[in-house]
C-alpha cells in the first residue's frame, strides 16, 4: 500500500512537471470546466430569481445538491479520468502492453498515468458552491453532519469511479469504450437537481441502478434535516459493491485481452 502511495506520488510529480511546461493549457483547462459549470448555475439562478421554490427546495438548497455532486465528480475527474481513454489511447495504440510487463497492478498504472488538471476546476466550483450554500442555509455542523459531508463526497467520488470502471472494461472487447461510459456517466446530470422533481422510475434508476443519488441528493437531504431515513448512510456500501464489481470485471477483461495487433 505504501509502495503504491509512493509510486502515485512519483507519477503525480512527473505529470505536474509536464503540465507546468504548458501552463496556459493548465489554466485554460481548469477555467473551461468552471465556465461550463457557471453556465448551468447561471441558468438556475435566473430561473430561481423568478420562482424561488423548486418543488420545495430553495436556491441555496439546489446549489448544495449541485455542489456536492460536482465535488464527487471532481474526484473522479482528477484521479480517474484515464478510464475514459483506456480504449482510445492505450488499447488501440498497443500502449496497454506497456502496463502488462511492469511489476505493478495495470489498473493502478492506468489511473496513475494521468492526473487530469481539468478536474481542479470542478473541485473549485463544487467547494465554492458547498461553502456558499451551507453558510447561507446556516447549517449546524454537528459531528454526524460533518461525517456525512465527508462520507457523501468520498463515496460519491468512488461511485463515479466505479461506474466508469465497470463501463470502460468494455474496451477490452469493443476497443472504444467511450460511448458505453458516456451512456452511464451522463445520468449524473439528473442528480444535479433534487431527485423529487423526477418521476418515480428515474428516482429508482438513480438510487439503485446508476446510484449517483448518493453523491448529491441523499447526503444533501441529510444535511438539511429532511426525513429520508437511514438510506443517507448507504453511500459507502453502494460504492464498495460497485468497486468490487468493477474490479472483477476488469480482471475478466484483462484475461480476455489479446491486443489489437498494432
Amino acid at each position: 500500500m505504501t509502495r503504491y502511495l509512493n509510486l502515485y506520488w512519483l507519477f503525480l510529480i512527473q505529470r505536474l512537471k509536464v503540465l507546468m511546461e504548458y501552463r496556459a493549457s493548465f489554466i485554460l483547462g481548469a477555467a473551461s470546466t468552471i465556465v461550463w459549470q457557471g453556465s448551468s448555475i447561471a441558468a438556475v439562478w435566473v430561473v430561481m430569481q423568478k420562482v424561488p421554490d423548486l418543488n420545495g427546495w430553495n436556491y441555496d438548497e439546489v446549489l448544495l445538491i449541485y455542489g456536492l455532486i460536482t465535488l464527487s465528480k471532481s474526484i473522479n475527474h482528477m484521479f480517474a479520468d484515464n478510464l475514459w481513454t483506456l480504449g482510445r489511447m492505450y488499447i488501440r495504440s498497443g500502449g496497454f502492453e506497456r502496463f502488462l510487463v511492469r511489476p505493478i497492478d495495470p489498473l493502478f498504472h492506468l489511473l496513475a498515468d494521468r492526473f487530469c488538471q481539468d478536474g481542479v476546476g470542478n473541485f473549485l466550483v463544487g467547494a465554492a458552491l458547498v461553502v456558499k450554500s451551507t453558510i447561507a442555509l446556516g447549517i449546524d455542523w454537528t459531528p454526524p453532519k460533518l461525517a456525512m459531508l465527508v462520507v457523501g463526497v468520498l463515496s460519491g467520488g468512488f461511485i463515479f469511479i466505479a461506474l466508469n470502471l465497470i463501463t470502460c472494461v468494455s474496451a477490452f472487447w469493443i476497443v472504444d469504450s467511450v460511448p458505453v461510459t458516456r451512456l452511464v456517466f451522463d445520468n449524473h446530470l439528473f442528480a444535479q437537481y433534487p431527485l423529487t422533481i423526477y418521476p418515480r422510475a428515474i428516482n429508482i434508476l438513480l438510487t439503485w441502478l446508476i446510484p449517483y443519488g448518493f453523491a448529491s441528493f441523499y447526503p444533501a437531504s441529510y444535511l438539511l434535516d429532511r426525513q429520508i431515513g437511514n438510506i443517507a448512510w448507504f453511500g459507502p456500501f453502494v460504492a464498495a459493491i460497485l468497486l468490487f464489481i468493477g474490479y472483477r470485471l476488469w480482471q475478466t477483461g484483462l484475461k480476455y485481452y489479446s491486443g489489437t495487433g498494432s
Partner: protein, 270 residues
C-alpha cells in the same frame, strides 16, 4: 504445419473481426447519442415542470410555451456551434495553414461553405431527436409558413454572425497556440449566452443587456424566439436588420484581425 495454419487463421480472423467492431462503433455512437439527447431533454422538461408547479406564467410565458422554446433551442443548438477554433488549431499544428492561404480560392469562403455543410449534417442528424421530442415531450412545430420563413432567415443570418465571430476568436490561436482549452471555453460560454438554457426574456434587464451585446444569442435564442412566437412575427424585419448589422460589424472586425494575426503564424517545429 497444421499449427502454423491454425495460427495464421487466428491472426487473419482477428483482422476480420476488427471491421465489424469499427462498424458497430459508429452504429453505437448513433444510438447512444440519441439516448444522451433524451436524458438532456428529460432533465430540462422535468426541471421546468417543477419550476412551473406553483405558477402559471413567468415573464409572460406559460409552461407550454417555455417547454416549446427550450426543446427547440436544444434541437437547434448546433446553430451556435462552430469548429473554426479547432480547425485553425489543427491547420497550424500540421503546418497546413500556408497551403490553404496559397490556394487560388477565398480561404474564408471555403471555411464558410464547410461550416454550412457541417451544420446541415448536424441538423439532419437531429431528426431522430426531433421525433423523440414530439412523441415523449409533446413538442409541436408551428404550421404557419410565414413563421418558418421568419425563423429560417433569422437562423441563416445568425449562423453567419457566429461564423465571423468565431473567425475572430480563431485568430487568437495564432497568438496562444493553445487550442483545445480555448475551444471548450468558448463552447461553455455559448451554452448560457446563446439562450439555449433559459429564454432570454426571463433574465433580469442588466443580464439581457449583456447577453444581447455579445453575438451568441443571434444564432439560437433570437431565431427560436421567432419560431415559438416569443418574439412576434411583426418584429421579424427589425430582428433581421439587427442581425445584418451584427454581420457587418463582425465581418469587418474579423477580417482586420485576420490580416494582422496572420503575420504571427509560427508553425510549430518549423
Amino acid at each position: 504445419m497444421i499449427r502454423n495454419a491454425k495460427r495464421d487463421l487466428s491472426v487473419y480472423a482477428a483482422f476480420f473481426a476488427m471491421i465489424p467492431k469499427l462498424f458497430m462503433a459508429y452504429q453505437l455512437w448513433f444510438w447512444i447519442g440519441l439516448v444522451l439527447s433524451v436524458i438532456s431533454m428529460a432533465i430540462l422538461v422535468f426541471f421546468w415542470r417543477a419550476v412551473y408547479a406553483d405558477t402559471a406564467s413567468i415573464s409572460g410565458l406559460a409552461l407550454d410555451k417555455t417547454l416549446q422554446y427550450i426543446l427547440l433551442a436544444f434541437i437547434f443548438s448546433p446553430l451556435a456551434g462552430n469548429d473554426l477554433v479547432w480547425e485553425f488549431g489543427s491547420n497550424l499544428r500540421e503546418g497546413m495553414m500556408i497551403h490553404h492561404l496559397l490556394r487560388p480560392i477565398n480561404f474564408q469562403g471555403m471555411n464558410y461553405a464547410q461550416n454550412l455543410g457541417r451544420l446541415v449534417t448536424e441538423l439532419m442528424l437531429q431528426i431522430p431527436v426531433v421525433i423523440v421530442a414530439v412523441v415523449l415531450f409533446g413538442l409541436r412545430f408551428p404550421t404557419d409558413i410565414a413563421t418558418w420563413l421568419g425563423f429560417i432567415v433569422s437562423a441563416l443570418l445568425g449562423l453567419t454572425v457566429m461564423f465571423f465571430f468565431y473567425w475572430f476568436l480563431a485568430c487568437l490561436t495564432f497568438y496562444t497556440t493553445e487550442v483545445w482549452g480555448l475551444g471548450v471555453l468558448i463552447q461553455g460560454m455559448s451554452f448560457f449566452l446563446s439562450g439555449t438554457l433559459v429564454p432570454i426574456i426571463m433574465m433580469p434587464a442588466w443580464l439581457q443587456t449583456i447577453v444581447l451585446s455579445v453575438p451568441f444569442a443571434q444564432a439560437v435564442g433570437v431565431p427560436v424566439s421567432l419560431l415559438t412566437g416569443i418574439i412576434p412575427l411583426s418584429e421579424a424585419p427589425r430582428v433581421w436588420l439587427t442581425q445584418i448589422l451584427w454581420i457587418i460589424g463582425m465581418w469587418i472586425l474579423s477580417t482586420l484581425f485576420f490580416k494582422v494575426a496572420v503575420r504571427k503564424i509560427t508553425v510549430q517545429g518549423g
